[in-house]
Symmetry: C2
Subunit: 382 residues, 2 copies
């Protein structure tokens, strides 16, 4: 797809410009602040850009459906001719990637994670560097143990602060968008809804894992929708609809379709984390099981006779490979794996129902983008 390639380049260019400008400003504030931006840049610029690409593809499809000829994204060779639109779409798409990375950072701080997809995350990288570059001219009021503690504190603080900077940056982009006031307010509304819902989802997740909130299936599914589906699928689809000037009915149909698809992806993530090949999905083997993560698998298993065997192993911090393998077997035997596969099918079925419903009139071009996305669920390994 020539167009996807061009969109990817344009988004990467936009993110490069943004981080370049931010890193320049950071010079004023000293080497540690510059380093924080540099480490964050490296990570965000290597992302898969799932969300911004979905926005651009959906926007293009909507515009094609509106029979408005749009030149493909080939870098703004003549920005005046392309007008505000193309640059704005890329800018909002990139801001959604920035928002995504901000959420990931605070999620990593909250979960205490130092890696993501098999490499050091920002916090891990800051920790790594703090160990070797600690100021040696000044011996602080800390012994060796305290140094380790101080380094971890420094690294986590970096994660919180960069999350704040990127959350602010995403809002700044939406706030400055070069569009009529009503459209800008619509975009800001969707951003606001997304932040609220994602934060509510994160709170539910931590409450479920910590035992503050009863982990029934409905709550677990709600948490997954709020925490992941909203900002990964609903936000890009709605933003595309707003940017393309689609009507409210179409926007809300896309939002609903996105939520179902997003939940399907999250449920498949849960399956992959437990049953998939860690070399492919990049997480530690059994990390969900070791951390006692409340997934749909576990919510189902809890209601079965097998729970008596699962409970004593689930959430063990020193979970062995053998324990993990045993849990896998039990989660298959009790029917949880099969149940979650059925849940995925259910979500996909609701998704297709929305796509095919007449009153929403999702144009065929857009339908193709979404069906293409849904087809990635098949045979997905990471």
């Amino acid at each position: 797809m020539r167009s996807e390639h061009a969109a990817r380049s344009a988004i990467q260019h936009e993110l490069g410009e943004l981080f370049g400008a931010r890193t320049n400003v950071a010079q004023t504030y000293g080497e540690n602040f510059v380093r924080l931006w540099a480490l964050a840049s490296e990570r965000i610029l290597g992302g898969k850009l799932v969300r911004p690409l979905l926005l651009v593809a959906t926007y293009e499809a909507l515009r094609q459906a509106q029979s408005i000829a749009l030149r493909p994204f080939e870098g703004a060779s003549n920005p005046r001719e392309d007008g505000c639109d193309q640059a704005t779409v890329i800018r909002i798409a990139s801001a959604i990637e920035v928002l995504h990375y901000s959420f990931l950072l605070h999620d990593d701080v909250i979960d205490g994670d130092l890696t993501r997809r098999g490499r050091l995350n920002l916090i891990g990288a800051l920790l790594d560097e703090a160990g070797s570059t600690r100021n040696t001219a000044y011996r602080g009021p800390f012994g060796d143990d305290d140094s380790t503690r101080a380094n971890l504190h420094w690294a986590r603080t970096g994660g919180i602060l960069m999350g704040d900077l990127l959350l602010s940056s995403a809002h700044q982009t939406f706030a400055r968008v070069c569009l009529p006031t009503a459209t800008r307010i619509q975009l800001l509304d969707v951003l606001d809804h997304t932040v609220t819902e994602s934060v509510a989802g994160e709170q539910l997740d931590v409450g479920l894992s910590g035992g503050m909130i009863a982990p029934d299936l409905e709550t677990v599914l709600t948490m997954s929708t709020y925490k992941t589906a909203t900002y990964t699928f609903e936000l890009p689809l709605r933003a595309a609809a707003i940017l393309a000037g689609a009507d409210a009915l179409l926007e809300s149909a896309l939002a609903a379709a996105g939520r179902h698809l997003g939940l399907a992806f999250q449920l498949q993530d849960d399956l992959l984390s437990t049953f998939g090949d860690p070399r492919q999905h990049g997480k530690d083997s059994f990390s969900d099981l070791r951390e006692g993560k409340q997934t749909a698998l576990i919510a189902y298993a809890r209601k079965t006779d097998h729970w008596i065997d699962i409970e004593p192993i689930f959430g063990r911090r020193n979970l062995s490979l053998a324990d993990g393998a045993r849990l896998r077997e039990l989660l298959v035997a009790c029917g949880a794996e099969q149940f979650v596969r059925l849940l995925i099918d259910e979500q996909l079925s609701s998704f297709f129902q929305i796509l095919d419903a007449d009153p929403t009139q999702i144009p065929n071009h857009v339908r193709c983008v979404l069906v293409d996305l849904a087809s990635q669920l098949e045979g997905r390994a990471s």
Copy 2:
């Protein structure tokens, strides 16, 4: 001051409306999310409103100086007559209070603090409630020790997440401001500058305390300016200038004056924390000394012969009252206390120089607001 009273009411009303609306939306997301908003509301609505009141007073003074008759803030009995201006000023002023609270929250998470000004902060309140309301129907995979750990994790997560929500909310208010595009962009620029600088200041603070950054006097003073003076004084003054349509020269004179005054206040805070009466300033006695906080006092003391006696006690986590009293004596004896008093005088002198410089033409009405503010430094105990 009748006008300050009216401004305070208007700001409190605006904050009440904002938190009311947010709490209503939170209903959709369950009781824990509502509770998070309720606990945050209680705390922010009890604030002293220093920053928003400074904005409103400066704005009014600028408008008076411009000889534009402005009705005092008496609540919008007839909002149409008052136009967009008055409501907008109150809205931006309130957003600055929201930003302030967002910074405090992440600061408390980073410092591990559970109290502020002698009462439980949001994190402390969440921890307190988690202990008593933990879901008892479901016994999670946690023993008693793990429960305490999980409760603290829950509480700190709440602090991070509410900080994110309020940081977003402050941006949303700026982004939606009902003003010409150029003015909105100016306000967004100041907000962006403020967030960047405050975050850089927080990173410096943690790096200084943790021994990653050498604690020389210049760095400590820079940190205090970035972390506190920028958002407490520069931001409200510049926002007032922009809202009143003041020119760039006046805006930057106010910004510079605000930075000097802000640093003077922060230096006095450092003195109060070490030498003041904890019943009045609301902090733990000697908490700065116990935490090894790198203040100007300590940066000065480090260069004196008394450091050999100070160093072994400074930063002791189990600092006794006698240790604290001894440190106080040493910080006086080595000249650090006197030195910081001189630094405050220096900052005030720079502040007055800006106020009196001809080319900036700070109007007399505005000068009165600032001199009044500076006079609060005298005899300040909290």
